[in-house]
Amino acid sequence: MPPLVSHLWLIPALPLMAAALGALTPRSGRAFAAGTALLALAGSLVLSIAALSVALRSPGQHLYANFSWFELGAGTVRLGWLLDPLTAFLAVMVCFVGLLIFIFSLGYMREDANFARFFCFLSLFAAAMLGVLVANSLLLLFICWELVGLASYLLIGFWFHKPEAAAAAKKAFITTRIGDLGFLLGMLWLYDASGTLLFFDGGRGCLEAGALQGLAGATVGGLAVSTVIGLLIFCGAVGKSGQFPLHVWLPDAMEGPTPVSALIHAATMVAAGVFLIARVYPLVGADQALAAVPLHALTVVAFIGAITALLGAVIAVAQHDLKRVLAFSTISQLGYMMLALGVGSWTAAIFHLLTHAFFKALLFLGAGSVIASAHHEQDIRRLGGLGSRMRVTFATFAIGMMALSGVPFVFSGFWSKEAILHAASEWDVSRLPLLAGLGAVVLTAFYMTRLLCEVFLGRPRSEPAAHAHENPLVMTVPLCLLAAGAIGLGFLGTPAGPWLQSALSGSPVEPHSILDKGGLLGLSILLVALGLGSGWALYGRRPRSEAEAPDPLERAYPRLFGFLAARLKIDEFYAATFGRLARGLGALAVGLDQSVWGGGVGLVAGLGELAGRVNRRSDEGGLNAGFNAASERLRGVGAAYGRRQTGEAHGYLRTLAVAFLVLALIAILGGGR
């Protein structure tokens, strides 16, 4: 085994050390905090590239190094590090994109008082994300997964004095935690059924043939156990990757600083769910060989992905906030990736994950560049005319927009989306995911054209937009590098030269001509053209002249547009159902305490007090009637005191007796079973 494998932990450890140093740095240590963060991530990038070269030299192999975490009973809990092309490609991407975003942040955050803290949190995020990638144990992956969630929480709420940011951070944590509880249960089930959470362990790992056979062979409620475990783990991916129905946190997460939106909520963290499913793909797909089961796990993945791809694109059409348009487009694109996983092509999903990371980071940083120079104006109705004022931002944003829209041949998004649609067309379970994917293609091209026209064309429609100017090099150079990636990366995986797919899967993928399935290709190009054309017709030909004018679509279909702008009212629906349910459960818990348990205690205490009073009456009236008046006062005081205290004591004793009887009944009834 190459020595690098047992030192893989250094890849997440370097940023983790930077985060620890940053946490101890006072506010004034700005240069130190940023410097260590950049240096550490650069170190991780070098190590990741070395790891990638090692992984490419041993195709089809999973190199791992396991170690014991702690002794438990007579056994041990073991964790490990894993290197394969999947890990290595994503690690390089996270480090490279992360580094560019770190550099961009030097400029974007330069006036923030908590600059040092920002880089501490960014490093913590990078460490956790890289930990997710190099983990050879679902437990270690889960640990890092939760830490990623923590970093996201801290960074969404970075401007915590803003109530919206604080609320968004909480919403993100809680929503993803709901998914993570499913993930936790799936992990517990896997641990119990296979006895290990190590992915690869010399034939004994939970992703290796022995364990998978057992998991696919056993059934529960008609389904294969592997199906249920796979779907529970998928819950975690649904939460983290903003899939329907847990997508609601992602648009709100845009309250965080824009570099955070670019790094975490577009390029890397939200893709962790896609990575998770790709990582446990043998498990999730273990039921594919079974014909007799009513449901395959991947079918659910495909449909959730398809719904999300379409839903995100539809909602994005009617958003007015620059970052929210991009957020919904992220949701939609993550849906494409899930769709690809579901229809059986995990390499296409990862290909799209990589290209998307570049062009979406580019788009968000472009948005950040706009926001920074327009004094934090994010409403696209109040921007406009920035194309001539911010040429580099405009040019690079346009490249990102065309990559996302899937403009043919030159841009990376075209190739990776094509791979997904190709895979969907070969899926024989249902046509619907393909149709949803094609529908989202036209919508994506449309809303991105709208966004580009509204922000960069026409006249400035507000003071800040009129005075916007290009940002310094520290912000524009990362844009240019990402733009290069947004173009170049696509050529790693064209149908005629599927190098990336071959490298990922470890076995050569047969190249095929792009004219193979030419009809599908032609159709999707046509749909892109349709989206671009209709977008141009509505928003580009006669750009908006004033901020208050309604959107052309809004004018034509006011109610539909309002419904879309309100994100299909899904948040309101959740608040009215699950929110109310949670509050009701809380009210029930408190009510039980006050009325039933506490009330029972009070009732019995009252009865005890009554008994004490009766007792006192009989004592005073009968037995003690002959006592002389001299002791009357003393006795009165004593009786008053006794009334209070003994009453209570009796009360509690009696409650206990009642509870004791109830418990006795329960135990006897329970024991009878």
Binding site: F70, L72, F173, I174, L188, L656, F660, A664, G670
Partner: protein, 510 residues
Amino acid sequence: MNGPPILSAIIFAPFAGALLLALVPRARPAAVRAVALAASLSTLALALACAGSFDRGAAGYQLVERHAWISSLNVHYYLGLDGLSLVLILLTGIVAPAGLAVSWSQARDPRLFSLLFLAAQGSALGVFLALDFFHWFLFWELSLVPTFFLIKLWGGAGASRAAYQFVIYTLAGSAFLLLGFAAIFAATGSLDFAALGRLGASGELSARLASLGGFWPEAVFLGVLAGFAVKVPLYPFHTWLPAAYAEAPTGVSMFLTGVMSKMGVYGFLRILWPLFPAALHAAAGPLLWLALGGVVFGAFAATRQDDLKRMVAYSSLNHVSYCLMALFAVVSPAGPSAPAATAALSGAILQMFNHGLSASALFLCIGVLESRAGGRRGLGDFGGVRSAAPIFAGLCGIAMFSSLGLPGLNGFVGEFLIFRGVFGLAPWAAAVGCLGLLGTALFLLTFWQRVFHGPRAGAAAGEFRDLAGPNFVVLGALVALMFLFGLLPGLLTGIYNPLVTAWVGGLPTP
């Protein structure tokens, strides 16, 4: 039996400190506090010494002290240390001095306060080390006296009522416990836990109790159960808890939740389970539901609390209920799977320790807020504390995430092991228990959002000092321990692995 009586020293050092304070009525407050803290810290020093020489490969009692005491009753002075008691002694050695240290500025009669506090600490240590019911019960009851006065005399506005409720409720539970043991003594002539445990394992104990009369085995089991159920508390015997925890002064709340709630769980593990394995198995189903009631209702009741101390009190109910959930899940199947049972029991012990750290840290944080706000501690009394006091906010945030079970901090490992075990034994219970995890996140993050985030408001609007002095030292130390045991849980599991293995080995096999 040979060597210095180190366990007696552990128990009686705090009492000696208390006695010293009692004998010197006119000592200066600073001297009083120094003596008290030194006597309290003696536990930690001696416990670490024990941990150093502790044989980590052995399951049985070590450093045993056994002397004939009251021969007519067959009572022995019998102390012993195993992995479970060592973990709890260490916990007491951390939490008790911490509680005393944060009461440093306690101005009203520091001598009496410290004296009572040390007596409570010594009693708890006695409970964790005594192996004969006679003096075990003395310590068990003795612990109530100082805590009663600590709550009543130094507590908040409703302290008097809360203290009476706490003591009477617990005493009533103990009355059943005492009656139960009277019957056991009548049937067996022994009060020795180890000997009784052997009788319990073979089923002879219930046979002998049955010879007293048909209903005695069940009645004694339920009596002992009632005693521990109130102490932990097991849902729904918890109604004394929110008031007592909320009205007690900060240091005492830390001790109550950190140490005294563990006395009940300890009783379940050390006494109820070994003595009545068959009866506990028979009652496990309903008991598991009650534990789940504590897990879920504890967490969701906390979401509805406006008083921050009551919120943390309910969260304590939720957290200790995980320990009971683990135990009841282990005893519920006829033949539990060994890896799952090992995980559940290890997790329960770990959770006892971890909850002690994180809950006492949270009570300390609320105490800090309360002292800065002139006694107010409502959810709406603050805002933007993180802007005003960043160091305090950072440490409090770590304590909060520890309580929430964030990986990397101590709380996660115990909860993970409990859930891993419970899932293998009673999957539906693990699924329902997840609701408790969700509820915990809900109320803790709401607390954080309302108190620490947003613009500065309420008590934090004006001058708001950051953390300093004893509070800083204590909270910093607790947070450091959260990282230590979160990253290296083996430091603790290594102490009790043989014990848990032996427990699991003694379970019925399928």
